[in-house]
């Protein structure tokens, strides 16, 4: 491996004397890409930290049910909702998954920037929809990390995106394009078991999910080798007013995501990667959808129930069916409301 890397470096330098230097070609090894992304992430994080050289205090009001009327005095751009939970109790630290800051869902480890109102969301609330979505996103990201590292360096792995699937579908998924030589490869049960074991190792390491809000051009520089990620960055930047893209990192895997994630990987308890399907698209490359199912530490399932959920998660999960169902549900609701209004 070291000889191969050195050889490529020499070749690049020799070419540089004769031709125009093309940086994209020299950085195709995955470790170098990972290192580059991590360096950029760290640099951006330090830069954002250095914007506040002096510590300023902000007042954060707690609007939850357990300690009504508490006010925390925290540091601006340094304290996180997790620090606020530490002031309340250990139960709050262990149980809360997301923080509701001024009505918006925030990660637990994202620094607070101004005085606001805070509330903590757990898995067992009355309406844990945001929490469920964040959990599904985090599980998909863990699966992406596992898949990226699973193959040998000579086979290229291109991550596309994690489709936003509702929890009731029964599985989280990640779309991925593998090397052309693997087009006929069908993953077997043993392959899935080893992928699951890799994911288990990551979960056991208890890595925190770090968030970073960066401008679109920094994100573009990080993901310059992956055109699908670039498209996603463009889409996210156009949706946002200031052109800011949210990146998440755990360990040394960085990814663009659509919303907040759970605080640590140890929140997952039962995790399994169950199936891989080939998506039918009009593109020339074969897009594969890897699926899995997971449950958090707070909502463990008995093993018989878990087996049934695993069986169900092996079926292909598509977004369109549920978007249609949601649209029909909305239409039906509007219809009944109109009837009620007419009868009154």
């Amino acid at each position: 491996m070291a000889a191969r890397w050195a050889g490529r470096g020499l070749w690049g330098r020799r070419q540089g004397r004769r031709f125009i230097y093309t940086p994209a070609v020299s950085r195709l090894t995955s470790e170098e890409v990972i290192q580059m992304r991590n360096e950029l992430f760290n640099k951006e994080k330090e830069r954002q930290l250095s914007l506040y050289p002096r510590i300023e205090k902000i007042e954060v009001k707690y609007t939850g049910k357990s300690h009504p009327g508490s006010v925390f005095v925290m540091n601006k751009a340094l304290s996180t909702p997790y620090n606020c939970a530490m002031h309340l109790s250990e139960w709050h630290c262990k149980r809360s998954v997301l923080a509701l800051v001024d009505g918006e869902a925030w990660d637990m480890y994202r620094p607070l920037t101004k005085s606001c109102e805070i509330q903590f969301l757990t898995f067992k609330d009355e309406d844990p929809e945001e929490v469920n979505k964040a959990y599904w996103r985090s599980c998909a990201m863990i699966m992406a990390c596992v898949l990226k590292r699973a193959f040998k360096d000579e086979y290229s792995v291109n991550l596309i995106r994690a489709p936003e699937v509702p929890v009731i579908c029964g599985a989280f998924c990640y779309d991925i394009i593998l090397d052309d030589r693997l087009n006929d490869w069908k993953p077997t049960n043993d392959n899935f078991r080893s992928l699951t074991r890799d994911a288990g190792k990551l979960i056991h390491k208890d890595l925190p999910f770090e968030t970073l809000h960066v401008e679109a051009k920094v994100a573009r520089e990080m993901f310059q080798h992956n055109r699908y990620k670039l498209e996603m960055i463009e889409r996210k930047a156009s949706q946002n007013m200031e052109g800011i893209v949210v990146l998440h990192r755990f360990g040394d895997f960085v990814d663009v995501s659509e919303g907040p994630h759970i605080p640590r990987t140890s929140f997952c308890f039962q995790y399994e990667i169950t199936a891989a399907h080939n998506l039918q698209t009009n593109q020339s490359e074969l897009i594969r959808r890897f699926q899995g199912v997971s449950l958090p530490v707070h909502l463990k399932a008995y093993y018989i129930v878990w087996q049934k959920l695993l069986e169900r998660s092996k079926r292909l999960v598509t977004e369109e069916k549920y978007l249609e169902a949601a649209a029909e549900h909305h239409e039906a609701k509007d219809g009944t409301e109109e009837e009620k209004a007419a009868s009154v």
Binding site: F123, K124, D125, E126, D127, P128, E129, V131, N132, Y135, V167, I168, C169, G170, V293, L295, P296, L299, A301, V305, K308, L309, R312
Partner: protein, 171 residues
């Protein structure tokens, strides 16, 4: 009072001496059974409630035999000091517990009594009573992750068992 050490050790003794003597103990328990049948939920010292529980369940078993039965009527007459409760026992409680076989009462602990004796208290109630429940079951909401996954699984099973035509006709 047990003033000698050997008399104070009570390993393995199941007999509880309540009240002033055997007759007094029976009267005490009879009053408690009457109160239980009248109010269907009472608070009492734990030892008395525990002792009374067996007698109350045996009384209900006698009541299940029917009020024409001579022995059942004599038992109800002895144990219920207020005679209007005999009618309630045979006409309300016996039919209520006809499908059950035993375990007609529920006994739970209560914080110790506030007075000087700090006695260990219990609440004893007849099951199926019309009062609000003692323990509220905290069920997880329908929308938690596990419940949503199970709901999806259940719907899939139902669809597989009874395949409906797409765009079903309104019933």
């Amino acid at each position: 009072m047990r003033l000698t050490v050997p008399a104070a050790i009570s390993h393995g003794r199941v007999f509880r001496p309540l009240g002033l003597g055997p007759r007094s103990r029976l009267d005490l328990l009879r009053n408690l059974v009457t109160a239980l049948v009248r109010h269907e939920r009472i608070e009492a010292p734990w030892a008395r409630a525990d002792e009374m529980r067996g007698y109350a369940e045996k009384l209900i078993e006698y009541a299940k035999l029917g009020d024409t039965n001579e022995r059942a009527m004599r038992m109800a007459d002895f144990w219920l000091t207020e005679k209007d409760l005999i009618h309630k026992l045979f006409k309300v409680l016996a039919p209520r517990y006809q499908p059950h076989a035993g375990n007609y009462t529920r006994m739970l602990h209560i914080p110790n009594r506030d007075s000087l004796d700090r006695a260990k208290m219990a609440v004893i109630e007849l099951k199926g009573n019309p009062l609000p429940p003692l323990i509220r079951q905290r069920r997880d909401s329908e929308k938690t992750l596990l419940n949503q996954l199970l709901k999806g699984y259940r719907e899939d099973m139902q669809q597989a068992a009874a395949p409906q035509a797409p765009g079903g006709t309104p019933v």
